[in-house]
Structures are given as structure tokens and as C-alpha cells.
Symmetry: C2
């Protein structure tokens, strides 16, 4: 399939997903066919699609149509469709299917995919389905689920290709030609000792371009990247990015090779982790995008209530100065500007810091330098904004002293915002709290409280 | 190398990068050796490192030490070190190197890496280096740079493996064993017709496991994913994610295969695009993390000045009600709460929307449904927050009417925040403006202006 892209802006309609087979027209046709119970048409429409595209269609449908489609496909569900679904849609589809049917579909999956599908289900549902699995699959799945959440073990594919170092390239190729139990996809061969400790790896293209009589150990990369099974998936993803890997061996506590992780799963991890940081910084639950109204509302309102406490705290600061505001209403007019600009400056620094921590760009080697950098940026930007808003306030209220108070308060608040934007995420990271999740609430509290206090406090001293 | 992870929380110190060879100790030793001009020690420390790790060390050093290291390595710079550097560090390193030396290093790179390094340089520097390249490399690099920025063409690796469909598997393997000009890394073979149109692909593992006498066209995937050279890199990344690809062919306007894109470059694209969205939503320049104080300050202050206009606009709304505030100072105390909660609720919805647009989860097929979803979430959360803050305000100021006004204003503002949080990114996307870049300024303006107007306006009518 050559994927066509329409170049004309008119045809394009601002939607970039017309390079993909799942168009609005296709989804509309499928909904129409579903609601008319036109089985032939549904089969005709779904048949040419890749499993990932069928999964996308499930995600696009509303709950009613999704239920129709689930019942229509039933036990004939492609395993890859289930493993490509997002968590909420997967939950809906699995709720609608018979446990025996799900177990049948899952038993056809690779272990890493089966674990991926099962790990997000409620414990009870999970156990019911596991009980329906055939014995050997059940053991492997249970072992996969026994590894810590978000660890290398959860991404593990047990089936890999390993050979002893004294085999020739020819013997390796002959083994490939005769063995039926190879993984569907693999990119390298692991060389192991008799205890199954990894000695090296050879990329397939190197095997193919080498003569049959060469020893496999003579062409292996003898410094292969291998990770322990409990390593966090974020670190696994980092290693794939850092070393441009396509697959990587995983070892158990005694250093024995027990499986591999392939780049397709890592691509998903990279995407998930970036999404998690983005959503968490905005106070949104990781799976918000596909949650129902009530689930999403419940998760988001907690964040709003926490922020309400912050906002009330800031109001408490304003209340301290109610007499000043009564004397000079201009203070009430200008004070939100100080808090709002501090908030924006703090968010800038905090976002850069959270990202730099996630990408290992902020390390013990450069922390001090980067704190100074943020201080200087804040001081520079504070000065610029202070001069602009000081001048404008002076002009607006024909009151030079008010302009001076505004400028000073703005300078203080933007510098405090910069410092809290860099220090709070670093401190949270040190004490093992996710900085993406918790930084903004502290930074906002500081910029609001400091902003109102500096402005109203200075005003009370200087102006009244 | 088995990558060890320390499990003890004490040893760990909250830093996760101790799984990597570039530790704080190593960087400190290198700085020490650099400042003592101890060449033997520097060589000893750098020698065992992967190019990506050497690049990390450059990024960790301050400008002075970075200059020392650049001069120390000079023309012996590994090509991969340059291609792994982030944009700002790359700029510093290239400024410090001799043009001839850089051209020498770049001439040893794959074309996609050379284009990646050159594309971010200033035009003048770029041209000087290109002029120093050997003739054949120069042409290929200039062609690479002629493709639109962030398009598939910029990720293109010209060197791929293509064979005619009538070759046997044995002939393909023999060709691999004798041809010296194969790419360093490849995962599949392209089958082409005499005009070099792609007919299919075969994964290497499939070639290895098939007998020599089978025709290559009999085992090929005859529906290979192929993209046009101008396709946006975000779409390329989407296709890799969607179809779990490791490499993909790229065709020119007449459908001829002109190169391939490999998953290692796509992993970087996915990471960059996620970073871009995260930073842009906070009003930070894409390369902020590695910019100098002045560059970063300049980029960030523009955002602050735009936000200042918004904040002044909101103050203008407050100024309309100065008489009301003079009569009842409680209004000044409570009004920031309405604006701040609206801002938080708007950011939640906006972030979810921007992300859903980026991941193709928000499409014409479900836009209407998701707008309603956001409206209902906003209405629910608005009601919860309105009741809480209405009650608190009543209690705080012993004024039931004030509590009622606060609750009503909060409800109005949170619903408006939800609607603008979903509609603004969708509209911006439709008119081809990056929603990550521009949404927040509109959403903030709306939540501030609506918040103050609703609260103070209702208060003026009901309370005074």
C-alpha cells in the first residue's frame, strides 16, 4: 500500500489523518452497517484492515456501537486488535465478551501482549480469564504479571533466538530453516553459554552477509546491552533511544537470559511516558482521553479541589490587606496581574525542569549550573516585565509610586517563580515523588501567595 | 555489558540515571582531566564509551569545558557523537571546530545523519561546511536538505537493499555476502520492479528461515507500507507506531523507491514531537533546555508579554467594577478564586484535547461526541466546585447572597473553561495553527475575562 497524502489545503481540511485507512467515511459506513445489522457489509469493510486500524475503529465508536461491533466479531477477534486497544476501550470490549472467548483470543497472543492486555483489568476479571487459559499459557502469563508494574518484565517476550557460540553461521541458518518455534519477528540472535548467560548478539543482517563457515562468536557484538528484569520501563526506553536498539536481552537475578524486549513495545512506552507527563502536569488522569464522563470528572475534580485550597490560601493573603484595598481600589485591579505573570513564568521553568529530569538532561553534574541559569533568566525576564507593567500602571493610574510598587512586586514574584519552578521539581524527584504530578500545585501556591503578598504588602507600606 | 541497577533507595539517591555509564563521578573526572590537560586520562575515560554517551558528556559540560573537550578531540570526533548532540550543544561544538574538520567528520556519516546535523546550523555555516564536502556526498546532502523541514525526506537513508522479484532466496543471500555497499543496519529487503517501484518487502528473519530455492517474491509482504517523501515526520512516526514497523520505504512523486526510514530515527521523532507539545503548551521554545540564558530569556519573555496583554485585559474587566469593589471588599478577596479555578479546568480540557489531536484519537468521527463529553464533565465539576466554594464564601463572609453569586460565577466559568478548552484547540487545528502553541493564551483570556465579568457583574446586580 502506498499511503497517499493529499497536498491541497482544500482537500486536506486541516485533518492530517487522511493518510490512514480509517477515515471519517469508513467509520460512518461501519456505524451504518452495524445499526442495520448488515454482517456482509461489516465483514467487507473490516476485512482489508490491519488489526491496529480495527482497534482504532473500536476507539472511535460510541459505547452502543462498540458493543454491537464486539458482539458481531465475538470469538473471531484478532488477538492483535485486543492488544492495540487503549485501556478504557479494552475494558468495555472485555466486559462485553464471554470469559471463555477472551481466554481463547488471549491464548493466541505472545506472552508480552497477553500480559499487556490482562494487567489493566480489575483483579476479579483478570483471574476469571486466567483460569480459562490453557495450562502452559497460564503459567507464563502469571509469571509475567508477577513482575513489577512498568518494569522490563512486563514487556518481556519469552520467545527469542539463542545459540551457542561454537555454532557456524551455516548451522545457525539451517537451525532457522528447520525450527518451527521461532518468534514471529526478531532482529538479532543471542549467543549464550551453557548456563544461558548472554555472551553477545549478532544482528540478522550480519548473519546473512557472512559466509556459512564463519563461527557465530567471531562476528558477535560481545558487549550487548542487557537489562535486569525489574528495571523500570522508562529506563528501558531510555536505553533504546540512547543506543538506537531494535531489541534487547533481559536477564534474571542470576544473569541468565530469560527473554527480549523489542522496539515496537518500546515505541509505545516512549509515547505513554510522554503522554503521562503532559497530562499529569495539567492535573489530568493518564487514561482521561478514553474515560467515561463520570470517571474523567471524578479524576479531574480532585485536582480542582486541591487547586481550590491553593486559591483560598491566596485569597486569605488578599484578606489581610482588605483595609488597603478599600482605601485604594487600583490595588484590586492590578493584583491579579502580578499573580498571573508569576504563574506563567513559574510554569515555563517548571515544564523545562520536569522535561529535563525525564530525559536525563538534568543530572547531578549540571544541577547547580542549571539552577543559576534559571535564576538569571528569571531575573532578566522579571526586569523586562517589571519595567513594562510598572510604566503602564504609572500611566494608567497617574501614580508613579503605584507603578514602582507594581514593578518591584513583579520582579520579586517572577524571580520567586523561576526559583520555585526549578527547585520544586528537583526536590520532588530527589524524594521520589513524580515531579510531573506534584510540581504545579506547589509552584502555583508560591507564585499566588508571594505575588499577592509582595504587591499588597509593598503597597500598604509605600502608598498608604 | 549488563546494565546494573541499584535497588537500595539509599544508594539510589532518587537519581535513575545510575543505570548508565555517564555518572556524576565520570563527568567530574573528565572535567578534572580537561582542566589539567591530561590527554592520556581523557582518552582513557572516553575510550570505552558509546558515541551517544560521549555526546551526553558534551551536553553536561559547561561552555568552557565543552570548548576544551572539542579542541581536544578535534578532527577525531566520531561522526555519531555529532549526530547525537542536541541542537544547541551541536552549535557550540561546530562553532569551535575548523570547517574542514567538520566536513571531514560529516563526510563519514550516513546521509540522513549528515542532513540532521547540517539542517539546524545557520545558513552561512551550513554552506561553508557543505562546500568542504566531497562532491558525491555534497550532492546527496544538498538533495536531503531540499526536502521540506520535518518531512520524511529529512529522515531518508538513501542506502537500502532492493532486489528484483525473480531472484531466489539463495541469490539474495549470495548478493548480501558479496556486496560491500550494504547499509550498516537494515531489517528488511525491498522487492522492486525494473522501474524501481516497490512491489513488496521481506523481513530478514523470513529470508533466513526460508530455503535457498524459494523465489523471494513468493515470501514477500505484497502490501508494504511506503510513504511519499514530503509526508510530515509526525505522520511517519504515527505509521511506525500504528503498524509496529522497523523500517519503511520512501517513494518520490512518480512512486519510485528512493530510500528508507529506520525506527531509530523515528524513536527520536516521537520523543521530539512529544517534547515540543509539552514545552509549547507552557510557552517555552522547543530547544529551551539547552539554550543559553539570553536565548532562553528572549524566547520566554515573548510569551510572558503576550500573557501580560491577557492579564491587563482581565484587569480592565475588574476596573469596570471598581465602584462595586469599593463598596464590598470581599469581592476583591474572592474574585481571583473564580479566575484561577476556571484557568485550571480549562487547562485540563485543553491538554486532553491537544494530546488527542496529536494522537489521532480526536477525529471527525467522534468530535461531536467528545465536545458533549467535555461539556458534561465541565458541568459536573462546575457544580461540585460551585457548591463547595459557594458554601465556603457564605460561611466566610456570613453572606448567603455572596455565596450564591460566587457559586453561580464559578459554574459559568468552569463550563466556559471546558467549552473553550475543547473548542479552541479543535478550531486552531482546523485552520492549521499548532494547537499546542496557541491554545492556552486564548483559553486563559476567556477564563480570566469570563471569570471576573461573571463574578463582579452578578455581584453588582445581586448584591449592591
Amino acid at each position: 500500500m502506498t499511503i497517499n497524502t493529499k497536498n491541497s489545503a482544500v482537500e486536506n481540511e486541516g485533518q492530517t489523518n487522511d493518510v490512514l485507512p480509517v477515515t471519517h467515511e469508513l467509520v460512518t459506513e461501519i456505524i451504518h452497517a452495524l445499526e442495520n445489522q448488515d454482517k456482509t457489509q461489516i465483514e467487507f469493510l473490516l476485512e482489508p484492515l490491519h488489526s491496529a486500524d480495527v482497534a482504532d475503529i473500536f476507539e472511535q465508536l460510541n459505547e452502543f456501537d462498540r458493543r454491537l461491533l464486539t458482539n458481531f466479531i465475538g470469538v473471531n477477534m484478532e488477538p492483535d486488535v485486543l492488544s492495540e486497544l487503549d485501556d478504557s476501550t479494552l475494558g468495555h470490549v472485555i466486559d462485553e465478551m464471554d470469559d471463555k472467548d477472551i481466554a481463547h483470543v488471549i491464548s493466541k497472543m505472545e506472552i508480552d501482549d497477553a500480559v499487556h492486555v490482562l494487567q489493566d483489568l480489575e483483579d476479579e476479571d483478570q483471574q476469571k480469564i486466567i483460569n480459562e487459559l490453557p495450562a502452559d499459557g497460564r503459567l507464563a502469563v502469571e509469571e509475567g504479571l508477577s513482575f513489577p508494574e512498568d518494569s522490563a518484565g512486563r514487556l518481556l517476550q519469552r520467545n527469542l533466538v539463542s545459540v551457542p557460540g561454537d555454532w557456524s553461521v551455516g548451522k545457525v541458518i539451517d537451525y532457522f530453516r528447520t525450527d518451527d518455534d521461532l518468534p514471529d519477528e526478531f532482529y538479532e540472535v543471542f549467543i549464550v553459554d551453557p548456563m544461558h548467560h548472554p555472551l553477545g548478539t549478532v544482528a540478522l543482517n550480519k548473519i546473512i552477509r557472512t559466509n556459512r563457515d564463519v563461527l557465530i562468536s567471531d562476528i558477535m557484538d560481545s558487549d550487548p546491552k542487557v537489562v535486569p528484569v525489574e528495571l523500570d520501563q522508562e529506563e528501558v526506553a531510555y536505553l533504546f533511544k540512547q543506543y538506537d536498539l531494535t531489541s534487547m536481552g533481559v536477564v534474571d537475578n542470576s544473569g541468565r537470559l530469560i527473554g527480549m524486549i523489542t522496539v515496537d513495545d518500546v515505541v509505545d512506552v516512549i509515547d505513554e511516558e510522554a503522554e503521562e507527563d503532559l497530562l499529569r502536569m495539567a492535573g489530568v488522569h493518564d487514561s482521561d482521553i478514553t474515560e467515561s464522563v463520570f470517571e474523567a470528572s471524578k479524576h479531574r475534580v480532585i485536582w480542582l479541589l486541591i487547586n481550590l485550597v491553593t486559591a483560598i490560601l491566596a485569597s486569605g493573603v488578599i484578606a489581610l490587606f482588605d483595609a488597603s484595598i478599600e482605601q485604594m481600589v487600583a490595588l484590586a485591579i492590578l493584583m491579579p496581574i502580578v499573580a498571573s505573570m508569576g504563574g506563567n513564568a513559574g510554569t515555563q521553568t517548571m515544564t523545562v525542569t520536569v522535561r529535563a529530569l525525564a530525559t536525563h538532561d538534568l543530572t547531578p553534574s549540571n544541577t547547580k549550573r542549571i539552577i543559576f541559569r534559571e535564576f538569571f533568566i528569571a531575573a532578566l525576564n522579571g526586569a523586562v516585565i517589571a519595567i513594562v507593567i510598572g510604566g503602564l500602571s504609572w500611566f494608567w493610574f497617574s501614580n508613579m509610586a503605584l507603578g514602582g510598587v507594581m514593578a518591584a512586586a513583579m520582579m520579586i514574584n517572577i524571580v520567586m517563580a523561576g526559583l520555585s519552578g526549578i527547585l520544586i521539581p528537583i526536590i520532588l524527584d530527589k524524594i521520589n515523588i513524580d515531579p510531573a504530578l506534584a510540581s504545579s500545585i506547589f509552584v502555583t501556591t508560591i507564585t499566588d501567595v508571594v505575588g499577592f503578598f509582595a504587591f499588597l504588602g509593598l503597597a500598604a507600606i509605600v502608598l498608604l
